[in-house]
Each structure stands twice: as C-alpha cells, then as structure tokens.
C-alpha cells in the first residue's frame, strides 16, 4: 500500500459565485490551519498553460478537487491533465445537504459564509485523513 505524505488540494477559481469563494477559503483553511503538513495547493489555470510541476505533482500524489458548482472544473482539469482524483467535493451539494441558502456575498465572506467554509474544510480534512490512512 502506498501511503502518501502530501495531498494536492485543488480549488476551482469560482469567481462568479459565493460557492467558489467558499471553496477557496476552505482550501486555504486546510493549508493554514487544519492540515498544513500534508497539504499542497495548486492553481488550477496553471494546468492548462502547461506548468509541468503542477501536472507532475497531481500525477504522482493523490489530489482532492474542491469545486464550487457541479460543473466541477477542478476535478475535470486534474483528470484531463494529470490523472484520476482521489476525492471530489462539490460545495453547492454540501450547502444543499446542510440546508444553507445564500450564505454570503461572493466578494467577502460574511460570518455565515466563514462558518460554511469551515464546515467544508472539515469535510476536506476528513477526506485527507482517509487517504493518509488507507493510501491513494
């Protein structure tokens, strides 16, 4: 079994909607607070302009895609340029599951928006722990 030490967490850019902002903030919370030793973040558009480092990392290490909406740009980008994702999280699905509607403006998260991002970050951390335990 191949147990990874690092996991790539790739957030969609999601400038159009608050779910995109939540996906980015949740990813940053993972990197800064919840799993700083195990997290590498990757700028999604670097994939498409052919950045070899990003593509190679995602090819050899497990990745988790964090998407704002069901267009799943992050998941599709990873799988197009590097390989299958270990896990895919869609923020709009989680918000619906949790009964959270219109959590915040997209530009700057309100208190409710930060709370939603924190809950999403906890979901990502749980997915990371699972991968770190069972391997990719």
């Amino acid at each position: 079994m191949n147990i990874p030490s690092k996991i790539g967490v790739v957030s969609c850019s999601g400038e159009c909607c608050v779910e995109g902002t939540i996906s980015r903030i949740a990813t940053r919370l993972i990197l800064e607070k919840l799993r700083p030793d195990n997290t590498v973040t990757i700028c999604l558009p670097l994939f498409s302009i052919g950045e070899k480092g990003e593509r190679m990392f995602a090819r050899y290490f497990p990745t988790i895609a964090i998407d704002g909406c069901d267009k799943r740009c992050a998941k599709n980008a990873i799988e197009k340029y590097s390989g299958k994702t270990a896990c895919s999280i869609v923020v709009s699905d989680l918000l619906e599951k949790w009964g959270i509607e219109n959590p915040s403006p997209r530009r700057e998260l309100s208190k409710e928006g930060v709370e939603a991002a924190t809950k999403v970050a906890e979901e990502i951390a749980a997915a990371m722990d699972d991968i770190l335990t069972r391997g990719r």
């Binding site: 957030s11 850019s13 159009c16 940053r28 700028c43 999604l44 558009p45 498409s48 599709n76 530009r107």
Partner: protein
C-alpha cells in the same frame, strides 16, 4: 448591461497576489463599474465551457494576474479572446513599495489598499476603452 467589459482575475491561491487580483476585479465589477463590467470564472475558460468562451470572444476582456505566470492573460490568448488590456499585481506592488501585503485567506489592510489602487487603474482603462469605442 449592454456590452460589459469582462474582468478576468487569475485564480492564484498560494500567495496574496492572487487574492489581490480577485479583490481588484470584484472592486471593479461589484462597486466601481457595476453597469459596465462583469467577471467570469477563469476555470470555466480553462475547461472549455462553451458559453464562457463565447463571452470572451464577443466582449472585450481585461486580464488581472497576480504573478508573472500570467495564467489569466495566457489562457485568454490561447482562446483568441478579445484581450483589451492586462495588469499584474506584482507590477502594482513595485510601484507601491510602501505596501507589504502578506495575508492570503483574508486580505490585510495593505492587500486591500493595493487591490484598490489596481482597481482604479482598471477603471481608467475601462473609461478609455469606452471613450475610444464611442468615438470610433
């Protein structure tokens, strides 16, 4: 909004530059030029979303990049979009060496100041482009 200019920020997530590029874009489209500018998710363009690609080919675009990788500009060029101008946060930072933004997840005061300075540059460019459009 008849013919909005599209402001496309990069999706940088690893440094404060990406956050500043997004805040500058939001400052323009949500506050300073609400009726003359709009934004799109860069990841939609990266993944070849047909509606998004049609938009950047039919509307003038301004790329706002955080770092010298210029993901937004390069992706727009790859799509043969109507790129009217491009800006880089690093250039604005060089012109304002008294500002030292460091926070990424939630911008600090210097980050917000830099985003505002960049947003005002973009607004000037929008005025210039619209004036040129009305004269020709």
């Amino acid at each position: 909004m008849s013919d909005p200019i599209l402001i496309i920020p990069c999706s940088g997530i690893g440094k404060s530059f990406g956050s500043i590029s997004r805040e500058a874009a939001y400052c323009v489209v949500d506050e300073l030029k609400k009726t003359q500018a709009d934004t799109l998710c860069l990841s939609l363009l990266v993944m070849g979303d047909e509606d998004a690609i049609r938009s950047v080919k039919s509307h003038r675009c301004i790329a706002v990049d955080g770092c010298p990788n210029e993901c937004s500009k390069k992706n727009l060029e790859l799509l043969t979009a109507k790129l009217a101008a491009n800006y880089r946060v690093v250039d604005t930072l060089r012109q304002n060496r008294n500002l030292r933004p460091s926070a990424v997840t939630f911008l600090d005061e210097d980050g917000r100041k830099l985003a505002r300075i960049l947003a005002e540059k973009i607004v000037s460019k929008i005025d210039e482009l619209n004036h040129r459009g009305s004269v020709s």
